[in-house]
Structures are given as structure tokens and as C-alpha cells.
Amino acid sequence: MLTEKIEPQIEALEAVIIRFVGDSGDGMQLTGTQFSDTSAMFGNDIATFPNYPSEIRAPQGSLYGVSGFQVHIGSVEISTPGDNVDLLVAMNPAGLKTNLHAVKPGHTIIVDTDSFTKKNLEKALYESNPLEDGSLENYRVIEVAMTTLTREALKDVEGLENKIITRSKNMFALGMVYWMYDRSTEHTIEFFNKKFKTKPSIIEANSKVLKAGFYFAETLELIPNSYTILPAKMNPGTYRIIMGNTATAWGFLAAAEKSGLELFLGSYPITPATDILHELVKHKHFGVKAFQAEDEIAGISSAIGASFAGDLALTTTSGPGLALKGEALGLAMMVELPLVVVNVQRGGPSTGLPTKTEQSDLLQAMYGRNGESPVIVIAASTPSNCFDYAFEASKLALEHMTPVVLLSDGYIANGSAPWKIKSVKDMPDIKNNKITEVKENWHPYDRNEESLARNWAIPGTEGLEHRIGGLEKDKVTGNVSYVPENHEYMTKIRAEKIKRVQNYIPDITTEFADEGNLLVVGWGGTYGSLHSAVKQLNEEGHTNIGFAHFNYINPLPKNTEALLKKFKKIIVCELNNGQFAKVLRINFSGYKFLQFNKIQGLPFANSELTEKFKNLAK
């Protein structure tokens, strides 16, 4: 343990990764969010990731009751919440035990010594006290009696319950960390003032403890002088911190406003997609109709009904839910109605790892239906671009009269990052295929010559009464048809319609190198990890590695092959057993697609990527 006095040092760091951990009741999510918000307002780029226990009320002090929040802030571009941490704040032994592995050797751990009681050590399955047995000697441990100090700070505040006193010790920790990283407490105090407007004693208590932590750190000689992380170079504008699921929900709000349609959501609760439902139910003021259905099938079926009736309709789910929705998705494809299905992927198969991230529903999204049943598949790749791809999914569905599966995942859905706020007026127009007047010789399956989208005649429109359904349609009238040639024709035209979406989506581009030895290929939520790994290698001089990240999966961008050609080796990196690699192999047979897969419910770690790429690029 490093206990010698450390000379004050002032250092500007490019980036720092901090993890706050403690018991579920210790308020770690709030602590982390406050730190990241304050840093964002200071001008840093940030990325955060929460880590909740899967049990709703895990026993206090237990290893599986640990709740954590990781923040990565920088004066440089930050694209992931980061892997190993520079600072761990552990409010109890269980938090220390479950997170120690993530602390970079030689780096700092702050602990609340008051919580290292015999009982808590036992609950954390420690045989001896790690603060005393020398097991932490490779770290700089700052021991602080936070509970005692919090109590002390609040001894003059009247009318506080004991519970509130002990609960505010997280603010003591936050105050310390604010001082260490040269942040002001102002934003958080403002937050208290707003949040506890009606409870002045709580505002007072929290502010006092926060400041006490700040001043304690300042006077404590064990803490090296504060670091500073200068503002990052970001595009000017108005920003906010946004979580992926919120961004997804807001993208749909924007699409509804832009298209002039009402938004309908049919959904059934499922981790980790439920927050989209939570967000959209709030927005009745925009006329959002959010319907919590009796099951996944009713979620999508009600959305199909709403789409038939002329709404911008969507359903949200995660892997097992998408499996249940498969038949109805086939119906939506067959009746050629606009529909967005959001799948926030989690670890599978079956119930799998509900709270962990994975990208293993790609093939399900592509092929998980009976019959020849192509749909558009796109994927968001960062918490903030969930907004753009939710908007894009709506636009594609409405303009091409087809279901669109939008893939997100637990990692970007729960992660948050700065979002340069977009106004609906700056978003592209959304056209739709509604017809309102009777034309002579009109048929429900008349198609737009270019996109092949059929027209959308909605109930209530006089003279356009028609029937649709899951049975095969006559190519002209839309009536039921069992004619063999017609079935083949319709199968092909449904496929061609999706293929032609290529004409409406952007080309794929490469970053860091347009040609060279190695092309790193990714899709969806791994963008941050892959981007920062390739960027780092590039800065280290490996300028022959390019990076291509796919947001459009079906259809693939038109220029995909032209881009693959320019590299000697291609490695497809995914959090699954190689699903996108399979898709690429089907489409581009002459290429060798190497794979880098991880199926641990965890995102890629920077080190494992850089090592692999370095070797391959030689």
C-alpha cells in the first residue's frame, strides 16, 4: 500500500476512467451520472455505462447486489465507457471485491473504511480484511471513513433521519472525486435544488456532504493534487447527455413529427428494451399512443393494425420477443405495411443473459420467419446515433412500405454519451405512400415504379375499400391468388423491393485507411470499441489498417464490394459466433473473411482488439 506522502502534482490528462461501485442502495447511478453530467458541461467528451445487479432487491452487502457506474471522460474523442479504470470508488467490500480486477495496476482506489465491518467482509466472502492483509499493495488506496465524516458534516442539520444521513455518503465520495479532477460542485448543487425543491433539508444535507467531501480531499495530504481533463474539441452546438434507449425513443418522436403521422407503439416489457416503452408512454402531449400489450405477439399485431389504420407504428423488444413476433412480422412483410421493430439485443439463446450485451440476433432479424420473407435490417452503433437510426428506420418503413428491424443492444441502449441535439427541422423529409383519392383502375398493390413500394390506402378513405391478408396476393388486384407463377413473381418482387433500398441508403465509408493490409469490419453497437482500437493503432503508426462499420445490413450498401477489394485481409469483429461474417460470405463469395468473436456478454476490450489487429496487419 502506498502510504508515503505524495508531493502535489498538477497534471492534465487526456482521459480518465472512473468507476463508482457500492451496494444497490448506495446511490452509485446518481453519483456516476452527476460526475458525467458535470464533466460534459465542463466540455469533456464522455461515455458512460451502468452496471446494475440483475436482482431487484439483492441482499445488502452481497456480491451480487453490487451496483456500478463507469464514466470515461476526455479532452479527446471518447467512444466507449472504457475497459480498465484509473480510479475505483468502492463504497463497500463487495464492491471492491467484484471490481478490483478492473483497476489498472498502480492506480487509485478510494474506499469507505466504515463499511469494512466484519459482517460486510463476510458477506463479500473475504477471509481477511483486504485493507489490512496487503493484498492491495499494487494500488494506491485512499482510506476514508466516509460514513463517520458524513455524519460529522450533518451533525448540525436538524430533522434528518438516520437513513438519509447514511445515504448521502455517496455525495461525500462525489465531492472528493470532484476535487481530484478539478470539477466544480455547482452543477450538482443546482441539481439538488431542482430535484428536492420541496425538501429543503435534503438539499442542505446533500450539499453539505458534497462540499465536505470536496474540502476533505483538498486538505487530505494522501491525495495527489487534482488532475484536470481539458475540454474536448467538439462541434459547436447545444448538447445533452443521452442514453441509447432514450435516443431511440426520441428518434421515433422526431420521425412522427417530421412525417406528420401519429406514433403508435405496441410493446411488452422485456429487458433491456423496456426503457423505450417507459420513455414513449410519457409523451402523450405529442399524441403518442403507447399500448402495453398482453404479450409480444399482441405488441407487434397491434402495431400492424395501427399501421393499417395509417399511423407510424412500431414495436420494441429483445431477442426472445423477436422470436415470438416472427409470424406477425411475416404478415407485415406480406401485407407490405410500414412497421418498425426494435430489437435491443441481449445475450441469448433462450432467456440467455438478459442484462448482458450481445449481437447474436442478426440472423434472426434477417431470416427468422417462415417462407421467403425479406425485411430491411439496420443497426444503430452508438448511444446517440440510436436517434438517427430510429428516425431512419421510420423513414425507410414509410417510404418503402415494409417492416424494418432496427437492431440495438444492451451496451449502447444503457450507455450514454453527449448528443448534439437535432431539431426536427434539420432532419430529412419523410414521404409516405398514402393515397387519399380514388384513381381510376386503382389497386392496393399498385407500386411505385422506382422503389416498388405499394400504395397505402387507409380505412376511412372513401372509395379505396380493400382487403389485405397473409394469403398470397394477385400481383395486380391484391386479391387472394394461388396461381403458381404469380406466387413466384410476388416472392421475387418483394425481394427486389428490399434490394432496391440500396438506391436510397448511403455508401459505406472507411476510416483511417482506404486501402491497405487489414480491413476491420464491424456492425452495430461495437463501433466505439472498434473505432478506438483502430484509431489507437493508426496513431501508433499502423496506417495500413482501415475500419468499416456497417449500419445497413439488409440490404448492404452498394459499394461494399468495392471497399472490400482494397484490403489484403478482412476481419469481421462481432459479439457473436460470426453472424455478419456469414452474411458477407453469402453476398461476396470471393473473399476470405477472418473472424474475431467474443461471446461473453461483454463488449470488446481495447487490448484484445489492438493485439489481434497488429498481428494481422503485419
Binding site: D37, A40, G43, P231, P236, G237, T238, Y239, R240, W250, L253, E257, E262, F264, G266, H283, K284, H285, F286, G287, K289, F291, A293, E294, D295, I297, A298, S301, S302, A303, I304, G305, A306, S307, F308, A309, G310, D311, A313, A328, L331, K420, K422, S423, V424, K425, P459, G460, T461, E462, L464, E465, H466, R467, I468, G469, G470, L471, N479, V480
Partner: protein, 337 residues
Amino acid sequence: METTVTKKYTFKDFASDQEVRWCPGCDDYVILRSMQKALPEMGVKKEDVVFISGIGCSSRFPYYMDTYGMHGIHGRAPAIATGVKLANPDLSVWIITGDGDAMAIGGNHFIHLLRRNIDLNIILFNNEIYGLTKGQFSPTSLVGQKTKSSPYGNTQPPFSPGELAIGAQARFFARIGGNTPKEMTDIFIQSEKFKGTALVEILQNCVIFNDGCFTQYTDKAVRADKQLFVEHGKPMIFGKERDKGLVLNGLKLEVVTIGENGITQEDLLVHNAKEQDPTLHQMLVRLEYPLVTGIIRSFDDVTLEEREDDLTAAVKYNSKFVKTDDLFFSGETYEVK
């Protein structure tokens, strides 16, 4: 539907150009014709009418109606129709389903639809068999019934649709024989007028796979003696001679004869379809002799759309958000220069 319609329709306006393909003699024809006759009487615009069906013989129905329609997937019509109605509450929405579609594969949607009380109609073609898949027992088939999938007799006790529905909080339940078009037409009109989910069970004879399953009640020769057709506010009287009726004896319904044991018409139960308490309605539904037909329950209640509308109006009134910009730029934002 409150809209007044100036255009006068006839049943022909509601018939599509598609050739009807049910087996000759099937009650489905009667239902189709009754619906086509009922619609012009409802005061709804043709373009506002939507038929949503699941899968089964009955579910071909939308193709034969010249209205908006969707032939959905097995069991899911209630969910699809829910979306249609919530998206546009001005539409007149009809679910066409069968016993297997509604109570086996679609049982979950069926009960939840009833519980929510959305203002739409369900026409349940109950033939106590799977017709389209050629003759397997359904959730309403009788114990002992021999079918293709129960060659030695069915061992699964049946649902009574009305009992299930009222248990699931149905506010409107009517039952009618598949061979009584006049009464059926009127019930369709009443169910459209009813504000809330209206369920109409039709005892539909399947001539091919379960012929005669309701004959003991529906045959012209026995109908008057075996069926009690209830009407709100009228005594529960039946029989060819109009001399039979129902009284309550303890917790049981009892058939009595007017003129016997001093019974007069005044002693008979008077049907109150609008009663909130479903106890008596359930007893009527369960009765085997006489079989009760007509509108058994019609209790006016708040609909889901009304609840949603009120809530939306209140939220809108109290909200400072009109455009998404108001939301996106609200709260904790910061400037990067």
C-alpha cells in the same frame, strides 16, 4: 359510430366481387348475408368499416365484404383490431373469429381485449370443431366427441364462450343460432350501437365436420321449446305456447310452467341485460335447458379509448411540450462553443 350518414346503402354495397368459397349449406353464408343486411342499418359510412379476422373458415369473411379488411394470422385478430381502433377510434371495427382461433391459439388476446373494453365487435363463429384443418376437436368440442384428433372421444372439457368472456369482464355478450338471420341481423346492429367490446357468439353449424351439433336447440321444430330468447326488460318466457319461463329458486334457475302451481307471468324473472353484476348473466349463459339466446349482457361502461382520451387531454393541457424541439432542448443541456 356517431357520424350521421346521408348516403343510403343496401346490402349489395357491402358485398365484394370475390366468389364466396364456403361449403354449400354452411351457416357462414347466413352470417355473411345478415352482416351485409345489418350494416346499412347501422348509420356507419362504408369506408369507416373494418373487418379483421384470424385464421379458419370464418376468417375468410373479410374477403367477401366490400369494406376495409385484413385477414390476419391465427388468433391475433383481437390484437390487430386493437391497433386499428386505437389508431383511429372513428372506425367501426369488427373481429371475425372462430372457436379455435379465439379461444385456443388466440385465447390470451381474446380475454385481454374483453377486459379492456375497447369499442369494437367480435363475431365468434362457434362450430365446436376445427373446419379449415379438416375436423379436429376445438376448445368448445364436447367431452367424448369423436373427431379426427380424438378418434376415441375428446377428453378435454370445453369452454363455454360466454362464461369465459364474462369471466374476462365482457360487458356485452349475445348468443344466437346460425339459422336465425333476422334476430342475428338485429343483434349485429345492437352490438354496433353498444359502446364497448361486444361479443356475439353464433352457434354455427359446420355441415362437413360437425353437422347437427346444435340441432337440438336450433332446429326449427324444437327452437321455440328449447331456446329462451331474452330481451332487456322483458320476462324470461319461452315455449311454443309461451307458457314456460324462468324463476330463481335459491341459487339456481328453474324452469316453471305458467298456470301450474299458481305460477303467473308476473312470477317470472325479468331480463336485465344492463345489470353490472354478472352473476345472473353467467347463470343464463350456463343454462342447458332452455338454451338462452339473445343479448344476455349489455352493461354500459367506460371504454379504453375514453380513458386514454381523457388522460391524453389532461397531459396535453398540463404539458409545456408542443413540438419535439421543446422536449429535446429542455432540461440539462449545455453549449459547446
